[in-house]
Amino acid sequence: MTLHLAVALDAAGWHPAAWRESSPAVFSAGYWAALVAEAERGLLDFVTIEDALGPQSTLPDGFDDRTDQVRGRFDAVLLAARLAPPTTRIGLVPTATTTHTEPFHVAIGIATLDHVSGGRAGWRAQVSPRAAEARHFGRREFPPVDQILNRPGGVDLSTDPHVRDLFAEAADAVEVARRLWDSWEDDAEIRDVATGRFIDRDKLHYIDFAGRFFSVKGPSITPRPPQGQPVVTALAHARPPYEFAAGGADVVYVTPHSAEQARAIVEEVRGLSGDVKIFADLLVFLGEDAARRKARLDERDGAELVSDAAIFTGTAGELADVLLEWRRAGIQGFRLRPGALPYDLTQIARGLTAELRGRGAFRHAYEAATLRGLLGLPRPVSRYAEVS
């Protein structure tokens, strides 16, 4: 069985000093187009694009005034849309926050990404517990989250009522999006010249969602996207986000630090959902001199790199060993976070994929035209469609 491979794109890579070695034009479309073209040449399943409703920071909450790291980031949904026309097969999975956004806007934005990419859209649904970001909206006051965020290795958030509420709200946002995507049945547009009707209004549905945090009437203004429902993904480190992902997502990214941990996490997530695809996140530096490159970047940054995900340094062959071992623990795919762009992406797209292919564990050609197709996910029928 082939494993699934995605890369997580962010700025110059996941090492905060990475930009100093490649000085990439992170605010130009061309830079991103080159990255996603490379990932597509490697036949990867999809790329994710990081985002947040506030600038990057080394602090868990609030701005840090550092001048030596990349600051600034595009809206990920629009960036993903810009990357759709120059690509043909790779999935595009932007991050969009569930916390301060309007679920209606997010749902039609992701549906539109699916339309413009011919069925290659996903969504990484992410909560934002940060007080600093809440102040960018001025509608809610959040408690400071310094204690609970950004801890390497993942933390148990289940005791924090604020975070629990944000996940409950996120679950509602995903539910609303899915209902909106279903609110037009596939064949709602009829163009029936004889009766003068452009649509069959019986195939459009009010979603009438009313929850604790908001209510949404529907139907969508955007017809059902090519995949029926774009692929929903979520990063999860602990029980409440596992529950959120198991309940609402098609793919969950987890962060084990060993095969043993991977097995335990898979067991916990599988206990919540038999269907959700489980991907592991790994931050990777690849090549013969991977460790040296990372050490050099650490030195430039003045601190050793920390991450919620395990950090791998080694050759593509060594990484393939790890991936296949974790696959035996039940992990179905990987979202690799390149330490430095474009270098580590190139190593993944060329070296790693070749290595995996050699072991019969990766595709030789794209076998499907949609992201759902690549992931082996069926195309859902609209929940509102009459079974006939």
Partner: protein
């Protein structure tokens, strides 16, 4: 003296009865290929920008979703961002409601579009605030009519604070010194107003245009005042010569109060056109298009909006019945509301009687906006005349077919405008501000 230059934009026909979907040449309103096709035609024709409207709830008539017109549209900024990949110079204008969005998020999205398109983004600020639309949003239908432009103005001020909050040279990206952001390059925004309290830092450096081009569509006194104070372009329905001149003079007069010059605000009515090899053929084409746009059921639906009652029992090809309009409550939701239905009904009735029109003929007559009908030569001349006579600075063309409806215009009328010396032979700048001469 050099002649005033004409500005042109292409409207991707959205959801209403202008699009003749029943025509066999009419393609998908949703497939990205349709958007690419129209945008590339507009760029081939050296248009200033490509324009998308917005409606955040499906329209209803008599409590049911309206099913006669084109329905269904993608999210505007997402499509425009994808179009940025397949066009080079064309401006990309999206209508986005100020009432149902948050300044921080929308300012980011617009700035992103401006970066990704290298300076071609525009925002058409609309302010519809009805509770009907609000039912799709967590904010709900909370805003009084009177407050919507106040919110929009504060929204825009705040968006500018965000766009300007990074120093123009904030990004050093110097690997030698290890300075990515210059010290102090990212400023703090502290905004406290009637509608918004926002404090923090923005996430994007200055975009190529600094701020996207601002378009205003809305016709009330407040709307005109908002445009005079804040907008770079007005999208107006006033496309006919004298009506246009009145509007033009009114709005341009308002500019001085805000310390602005007349050339800083371009007035671009939305207009349709019908071409033919002869005047007769063009008139025939125009009449044919209008009959397709206003089918029998659509005619009744229009009547119902004004009369506020079920009129489905009447023959659209027969005379207007004697029933009085029901003014208590409208039957239509999600359209720009008709201000005075009683007056409109009286006007329609008088017209029908005077000219002996059937219901459908009446609706064809009163809802028509076909400003430019004729041979290519005649249409080029008319457009030029309207602009030189200060009825407009240019036009937003609304083709009746998607996606091919602009081809003929680009191929036949644009060259004539170029020959007249009133339209660019090629783009001279790279940003939308360049095209609109809004330095």
């Amino acid at each position: 003296m050099t002649r005033k230059q004409v500005h042109l934009a292409a409207h991707f026909p959205g959801v209403n009865n202008t699009t003749v979907w029943a025509d066999p040449r009419s393609g998908s309103q949703i497939d990205f290929a349709s958007f690419v096709d129209l945008a590339r035609t507009a760029e081939r024709g050296k248009f200033d920008f490509f324009f998308l409207a917005e409606g955040l709830r499906l329209r209803e008539l008599k409590g049911r979703i309206h099913d006669l017109d084109v329905v269904g549209r993608p999210e505007a900024l997402t499509v425009l961002s994808a179009l940025a990949a397949v066009t080079d110079r064309l401006g990309l204008a999206g209508t986005v409601n100020a009432t149902f969005n948050e300044p921080y998020e929308l300012a980011r999205r617009l700035s992103t579009l401006d970066h990704l398109s290298e300076g071609r983004a525009a925002w058409n600020v609309v302010t519809t605030s009805d509770a009907f639309t609000g039912e799709n949003f967590r904010r709900g239908g909370f805003l009084d009519r009177a407050d919507r432009y106040k919110r929009a103005a504060e929204f825009l001020r705040l968006a500018r604070e965000l766009w300007d909050s990074w120093q123009p040279d904030a990004i050093a990206a110097d690997p030698e010194t290890g300075t990515f952001v210059r010290p102090g390059g990212i400023g703090t925004v502290e905004h406290s107003g009637e509608h918004f309290t926002v404090q923090g830092r923005f996430t994007l450096p200055h975009s190529p245009q600094g701020r996207p081009v601002i378009i205003q569509a809305g016709d009330s006194g407040e709307g005109r005042e908002f445009a005079a104070a804040h907008a770079d372009v007005i999208f107006t329905p006033h496309g006919r010569l004298e009506d246009g001149q009145r509007f033009y003079a009114d709005v341009k007069r308002r500019l001085a109060k805000y310390g602005r010059e007349p050339h800083q605000l371009k007035i671009m009515p939305g207009v349709t056109f019908a071409l033919g090899d002869t005047e007769e053929e063009a008139a025939e084409n125009a009449a044919h298009i209008r009959r397709q746009q206003v089918g029998p059921l659509t005619a009744i639906a229009f009547l119902e909006q004004v009369w506020g009652r079920d009129m489905s029992a009447y023959d659209p090809e027969g005379p207007l019945p004697d029933v009085e309009p029901d003014l208590s409550e409208g039957v239509s939701q999600g359209r720009v509301p008709i201000k005075d239905r009683a007056a409109m009904a009286a006007k329609w009735r008088a017209l029908a009687e005077e000219k002996g029109l059937t219901i459908r003929e009446l609706v064809i007559e009163v809802t028509g906006r076909q400003t430019f009908i004729g041979t290519s030569e005649a249409v080029a001349r008319l457009i030029d005349e309207h602009v030189q006579a200060d009825a407009a600075d240019g036009f937003i063309l609304v083709p009746h077919l998607t996606p091919g409806g602009l081809d003929e215009f680009a191929d036949r009328v644009v060259p004539l405008l170029q020959e007249r010396g009133v339209f660019r032979a090629d783009y001279t700048g790279t940003t939308l501000r360049d095209h609109l001469e809004l330095a």
